[in-house]
Every structure is written in structure tokens, then in C-alpha cells.
């Protein structure tokens, strides 16, 4: 039996209404309890446990346009056929409604996404040496160094493009520090071929001084890898 919003009716006898009322109260409690603390659950009075958002059509009428000073958060199918979060709100004119995609493949959608990062020192010992990084995201520990000033960062998971395919077409930020009072220039390794330095699986970075020589006394480096989201 399901919730009935049309009971009790004026001519109904109580023995008729008893079952309907019983069902309604039970249904209210059950259905409210799906996403909220149930009415008979004193541990989560009225609060949400989690919010389940079933896909909307994402058309002009579904969901309907918001009023001024309100936003509508909903889910819909994206161009990649995944279910993502969207928001619908009035634009700056406060007349027309605009819809924005908030997430893409599960993370906030801003156009670019970080795919790897590492903060590390130069390590010690004979070459080739391994270095335990100070902080990482999607970079294998340890980091390899074949010669002073050159480091190979291997990714735990391959770098992928917006369609999810492995790619070596990504962006990097490479910063270094050596307390030498000289320039520190961080770049992918300058080799004859792009793919020798940059692949979906790893990046080889060099830190050189103003004379173009690999720096032997690098104190700290940090690398961030980005791709189009």
C-alpha cells in the first residue's frame, strides 16, 4: 500500500481511516528516512544522511527555472554519458536562467584538473639514487635520479585526457630551489624527442643554473602536472 494524500474523507468512518492513517504514517517515516534521519530516529533529527540526486532531463523545464535568490542543484547526464552534478541559477541580469556543470568524472569541473604533484629534495648517495618525496599525489615513491639535477617522476596512474585515454599532451609547473643565490630553471629534460622526456607514465625534469648546467645542490623541487578536464 502507498501513501494516500486524500484521506480521511468527511464521510469516512474511523475504522476505515485507521488503516489509511497507519499506512500514511508508516510511509512518511520510511520515505523520509531514505535521505534523512527518520521521524522516529532521535539520532539525526530532521537532518540529511546523504542526498540522492536522480537524473533530470536538463531541459528548460526540468528542472524548472529558479526564482531570484535561489539555486537548484541537480544531476543530469553529461556529454560523456556520466551522471554529473549541475547547478541552475539566474544570471547576472536576474532575468534568464543558466545551467552550469559542477562536476566531471567525479571532481569539480573547472576546465583543468591536477593529475600529479610531488615535493621532493635531491636525496643522497651514489647515482642512480632513489628519493623519498616529502609530499606526493599520483607519483610513485621513490623518485629516481640518474644524475645530479635530473629526476624521473613516475605516475601511479597514467595521465589521461578529457576522454580518459592515456596522453602525453599535458601541462607542467616545475619549480626548484637551491639556496645558491643563482637562478634555478626547471624544465622537462631537453632531449631530442618530446616523448623521451614526457609520457603518460612519467616525466623527466631537469634543474639547471643560468649557465645551463645541471644543478648538483638542489634543495627542494616541486612539480605539478595538469591536463584538460
Amino acid at each position: 500500500m502507498s501513501f494516500d494524500a486524500n484521506i480521511p474523507q468527511p464521510p469516512d468512518h474511523l475504522d476505515n481511516s485507521q488503516g489509511d492513517l497507519l499506512t500514511n504514517f508508516g510511509e512518511l517515516n520510511t520515505q523520509f528516512g531514505v535521505n534523512h534521519g527518520a521521524f522516529n530516529d532521535g539520532t539525526l533529527p530532521g537532518k540529511h544522511k546523504f542526498v540522492t540526486l536522480v537524473e533530470r532531463a536538463n531541459t528548460a523545464n526540468d528542472p524548472p527555472n529558479p526564482e531570484s535568490n535561489e539555486v537548484i542543484l541537480f544531476s543530469a547526464e553529461s556529454s560523456l554519458f556520466t551522471t554529473e552534478l549541475y547547478v541552475k541559477q539566474k544570471d547576472v541580469s536576474n532575468t534568464n536562467s543558466q545551467t552550469y556543470q559542477l562536476t566531471k568524472t567525479g571532481i569539480p569541473f573547472i576546465g583543468m584538473k591536477p593529475q600529479a604533484a610531488a615535493n621532493f629534495g635531491r636525496g643522497a648517495g651514489a647515482f642512480p639514487r632513489t628519493i623519498v618525496p616529502d609530499s606526493t599525489f599520483n607519483v610513485v615513491n621513490p623518485i629516481d635520479s640518474s644524475v645530479a639535477g635530473r629526476f624521473t617522476l613516475t605516475y601511479t596512474n597514467a595521465i589521461v585526457n578529457a576522454s580518459g585515454a592515456a596522453t602525453n599532451e599535458y601541462y607542467w609547473s616545475i619549480q626548484g630551489f637551491d639556496d645558491s643565490n643563482n637562478p634555478v630553471i626547471g624544465t622537462p629534460r631537453v632531449t631530442a624527442t618530446y616523448s623521451d622526456a614526457i609520457s603518460s607514465a612519467r616525466i623527466v625534469v631537469d634543474f639547471r643554473n643560468g649557465a645551463g648546467t645541471l644543478i648538483t645542490t638542489l634543495t627542494r623541487a616541486n612539480v605539478i602536472i595538469w591536463s584538460v578536464q
Binding site: L14, Q18, L21, L22, F25, G26, L28, N29, F32, H36, G37, F39, N40, L44, P45, G46, H48, F50, V51, T52, L53, V54, E67, E70, S75, T82, T83, E84, V92, S93, T103, G106, I107, P108, I110, K113, P114, Q115, A117, A118, N119, D134, S135, F137, N138, S173, Q175, F177, D178, D179, S180, N181, P183, V184, I185, G210, T219, R220, N222, I224
Partner: protein, 242 residues
Amino acid sequence: MVYKPAIPQINDRITKSQKDILQNFQRIKQYWNIDHFDMTRSEVANRGMHKKLTLPEQSSDPTTAANEVAVYSKDSSGNTDIYWRSESDGAVNKLFSKDKVALGGLKLEAYCAFNTTNGDFMQVSVVDIDNPEGRKIDVKSINLSSVTVSGARTTFTINFSPVLSSADYFYTIDYRQTKVDVQFGLIKTRLQIQSKNNVAYASTCTTSKLVLESRILATNGSGLLAADLFCPVIYVEIWTVS
């Protein structure tokens, strides 16, 4: 006042049931109003809508069917962070990490774009097409209090507010060059903006600041030169693992 989902029973009399039914309706109203607009709200259009979402921590990730996602919170190293789960019991991703947006592994701790002459944060003006006088949106900084310029515009101390939890952060430094070379004495030279490099790392990168310098790019150069000779604005981002 306790909600009773199993009333009225078939043998109950109205004198007993009336009180139970009344209490049930009152409990529904009370709990409903925590996160939703009152069902008797005078603004009829708001009835059924949310005022806010209060998300107490869940002990496990909720299940999701096809074509639906779930937004919820759970503990992450002592913080109550917001997560979402993809359809069909898919991947679990953190959306917010202690008041910062989590971008699938990193979170932006601080950001600024500043003027290399005086350290003022850059302000972006956006014109409202419906307002002839224009409308300025102030895009200055995130979690930064100021940039201190010193050393004749060669050194820039970026002051974090609040301080960061660790000095093992990642940073990006970008700048728009208006000149390729600048005159330095009798020669033309190139410059680079980098983290300040004539002191220990622990003095340059701390939880309370990041110090940058405008350094000459020469084969054996050690000098600094005013940054605003070749770049008017420097952009800095500070990231940590989320």
C-alpha cells in the same frame, strides 16, 4: 514527543489515537523544518524546498543505482569532508576538504595575482551589460593577507592568512612578460621570477609565507633586478594534497 509509525492500530479508539496522530504530525513538522521550509510557509512556492543541507558524517559510503549520484559527508583524518559517489556504486570522490574545493587529489590553499610595483592585489573589473556604469568584481586573493615588496621591487613576500598546516606544499609561479630583455648595466639580460634563492629553503617556504625574487638569468649572474622592469603582474597558486 515520539513519532509512532505504527498507529493507529485496528482496535484503537479515537480517544487514544487522537493524541498519537497529533504528536506524529507535530514531530513531522519539527523534523521537516530542520532542513526544509515549513509546509505551511506563506510563500507557497517554497514549500517542499530545502533551506540547507545538514550532512552528519556517514560511517560508510551510500549505495547508488544507475543514473543517480549521492552527496554526503564522512570523516577524513579527523575532518568532516563532503564526498560524492558516482552512479551504480561507482567511484567515491571528495568534493570539499576542510572548506577548500578538492580537485581530485589537490586542493587550492591560496592564490593571488599582484602588482610587482607595490604588491597590491590585482582587481578584475567585469562590466554588467545591463548597467552602463559597469560592475566591478573584486578577484584579489584566496587565503592571503598581503604581499610585501622589498629590495627595490626585487623581492616579494606572500603572506598566508590563515597559516598553512605544512610547508611541504606545491606552488606555481606565472608572470606576464612585457619585455624579453632588460638593460642591466652595459648588457641586456633576461629575468626569472622564482622562489628566493639566497637563504635556506626553510626561510623561503614556510607555513606563513612564500618569498619570491626577480633574478637575472646569466651564466654566472647572482643579481636581482626590479621585477616591474619586465613583468607587471605575478600569479601564484599554492596547493596541497587534499
